[in-house]
Amino acid sequence: MDQRSPTDAELVAESLAGNRDAFGQLYDRHARIVRAVVAGVSGDWPSVEDMTQESFLRAYRLLPKLRDADRFALWIVGIARHVARERRRSLRRDRHEFRPQPTDTISPIDAETEASDRDQLELVMRRLAQLPDDERLAIHVFFLEQQNARQAAELAGLSRSGFYALVQRALARLATQIRPSESIESTKT
């Protein structure tokens, strides 16, 4: 029995033959790096999942144009970068929404208990968005790979030592940027 996992090229061919589950397997395989790339390039953390979906949908639609199926990973990363750049540009623009404000409200007590952690996390992600592109991407890859540095380095296309240097520099810079005076706990006291 053949235990070998299908290659990306085989999954692409199956997808083109109408097997959507094959494309689902490509998603399983590459969603993490796509998330890292869209987060890293756009700096828009709350929209990461939307951008990831967008990247894969575009990839599916453009699949017949993929000329070298073995390079699906590089190709989807290129699409993800494109989607993220669009997002970054769109964030600079004004929006005009006619959507009514949500009527559901959070109770004051719930809000208070959740606010501290959420605000602190938001602060971290906001500062993360301000890091240089390569450092931001390194952080996202590292944590999306559940801190498996070897796999993260491979995904980032860097040597292990190069990736280590990048991610440690990123964390150090981030720690420096989140000064005690800026933390939510401090501002509440």
């Binding site: 083109l16 033959a17 109408g18 959507r20 689902g24 998603y27 399983d28 969603a31 993490r32 998330r35 953390w45 990461v48 999942e49 939307d50 990831t52 979906q53 967008e54 894969f56 949908l57 599916y60 639609r61 453009l62 699949l63 017949p64 144009k65 993929l66 000329r67 390079r71 970068r81 750049r85 669009e86 769109s90 623009r93 929006r95 005009h96 929404e97 006619f98 959507r99 602190q120 996390l121 971290v124 993360l128 996202h140 590292f142 944590f143 999306l144 559940q146 801190q147 540095a149 280590y164 991610v167 440690q168 520099r169 990123a170 964390l171 150090a172 981030l174 720690a175 420096t176 989140i178």
Partner: protein
């Protein structure tokens, strides 16, 4: 022992090194211990934030699979009409690639082809020169003629499409590297009705598409579709916004040394100058796959191509399609007149650009709301055609596929009781005044909906209580996004993934 640097502590916090070696110092040093604790906390927060995405993977995958069910399996079309219709639709929807992008990649490809001569040592110098030349090109222009010939399994060849392209491009300056540069391109596409099986005028060509696009660097760009009598404004073209077989991909191919000369053609005169000819083959090399052998005529003085031609062949069940491409009048590093990339909207055509201003959108909503109020919750019974359907010449155009604001206005007056010969006293009636006040909104809808590729209306299917159904959609100012108006006239801007779910019949620019 000296205190650790921030980066050394970060290494420990990230678990990238064995912390035991440094533990003695950490245990004794309050400052290092505090900083390390902060970093560990930070790493925990980052881990938590990212974990949410991993935890949601299954749900996200399910959402993706549901979205895919709205897509047809991406396969090629199987009939002559579909072959042409898909090309036309692609041109209308991806206009920036149809003329400019196509030309851009083709000509750049031509340049690069020449850089690949050197499979032998004696040609290495020529390759270096060519790569240098490629990188120094700052502008160009060219003309191109394409013929699509259909070769039936048991019949004679027939030309089913003829197209002309012209394009000119100028590189952006350093400050504008984010953009593609200045680009102007124009395409005309003629089809032979006989190709669709029509009995009469079998030899008469029909101009199926005449489109011009102008992208000044980093500025609003103008697309004019003469055959549809409209134009629209769109956002600037970013540098990376090109097809997968674009210039960059071809550059990579060159750097990888793909392609080889299979034959030298000698010399001939092109535009009064002597040119050297070559046949180049790329076999199945990416990204030239499918282009077949490429014939290039080169100016020996500049090492830049003067003419280039190749064929693409597409074998289908019903026969073979041969698409012949020939580029001529290629000019390099030229100075364009100041107005070459000016965007001037044609005064006699309709501007179909959707609004982005709150006030304009409110006018559209007001017009549709009043119609619904007058008609008991219905909307104008218009259902715009899907673009690919409309471009099929065998399809009769039903009047109910066009949103005519004047007809809708008359209908609203009738619904409100203002029927028969016009009466001067009507203008004093508040209801009549209310109807007159929504004319701007109807005008917006009439204009926007002329562009079937970038807008659609489902008035035959959606009523005012249908809060989850799409009544009207159009492209939004935000790139890659669409504005949706639901049956209850709430509106929002959505990305492609959501739009595809909401309007599966739409095509995508």
């Amino acid at each position: 022992m000296a205190c650790f640097t921030q980066e050394q502590l970060a290494t420990l916090a990230l678990g990238l090194t064995d912390g035991l070696k440094q533990s003695a110092h950490i245990a004794q040093c309050d400052a290092c211990r505090a900083t390390l604790a902060d970093m560990l906390g930070l790493a925990d927060q980052l881990s938590t934030a990212h974990m949410v995405l991993s935890d949601n993977h299954a749900a996200s995958r399910a959402q993706l699979m549901a979205s895919l069910s709205n897509f047809k399996v991406p396969v090629h079309s199987t009939s002559i009409w579909n072959q042409l219709a898909s090309t036309l639709t692609a041109m209308l929807t991806r206009h920036r690639f149809a003329a400019g992008g196509f030309g851009l990649s083709t000509v750049a490809g031509a340049l690069l082809l020449l850089a690949i001569f050197s499979n032998s040592a004696t040609r290495l110098a020529a390759m270096d020169r060519m790569l240098t030349a490629v990188r120094k090109v700052t502008s160009y222009s060219f003309n191109e003629v394409d013929h699509m010939v259909f070769l039936a399994s048991n019949g004679k060849p027939q030309t089913i499409r003829r197209e002309t392209y012209s394009a000119c491009w100028r590189a952006p300056d350093e400050a504008n590297r984010e953009w593609l540069g200045d680009l102007h391109a124009e395409v005309k596409s003629w089809h032979r009705p006989s190709a669709y099986g029509e009995a009469s005028n079998s030899d008469v060509e029909r101009l199926a598409l005449h489109l011009a696009e102008t992208y000044p660097t980093g500025k609003p760009s103008l697309i004019v579709v003469y055959t549809e009598s409209y134009y629209f404004w769109t956002d600037p073209m970013p540098a990376g916004d090109l097809p997968v077989d674009n210039t960059i991909a071809k550059l990579r191919a060159v750097q990888q040394g793909q392609g080889k000369i299979v034959r030298e053609l000698g010399t001939k005169h092109v535009d009064g100058r002597e040119a050297r000819g070559y046949i180049l083959s790329f076999d199945e090399a990416v990204p030239f796959r499918g282009d077949g052998p490429v014939e290039v005529w080169v100016d020996p003085q500049t090492d830049l191509p003067m003419e280039l031609s190749y064929n693409r062949t597409d074998e289908k069940q019903e026969g073979k399609y041969i698409d012949e491409h020939c580029l001529t009048d290629i000019r390099w590093n030229i100075d364009f007149p100041p107005d070459q990339f000016a965007t001037i909207a044609p005064a006699d055509l309709v501007n179909t650009t959707p609004p982005n201003d709150k006030k304009d959108i409110a006018q559209i909503i007001a017009a549709l709301k009043l119609y619904a109020d007058l008609s008991g919750g219905h909307y104008p019974p218009i259902r715009t055609l899907d673009p690919a359907t409309k471009t099929d010449p065998t399809v009769e155009v039903d009047p109910h596929t066009r949103f005519d604001g004047k007809l809708i206005l008359d209908e609203m007056r009738n619904l409100a009781g203002f029927s028969g010969p016009p009466n001067p006293t009507w203008s004093q009636d508040p209801k009549y005044q209310q109807i007159e006040a929504v004319i701007p909104g109807l005008d917006w809808l009439s204009r926007i909906l002329l562009n079937r590729v970038r807008a659609g209306f489902f008035g035959t299917e959606v009523q005012s209580q249908d809060r989850d159904k799409v009544l009207f959609w159009c492209t939004a100012a935000e790139r890659g996004h669409w504005r949706i108006f639901y049956g209850d006239l709430q509106t929002e801007v959505v990305p492609e993934s959501k739009f595809k779910q909401l309007v599966p019949t739409a095509v995508f620019p």
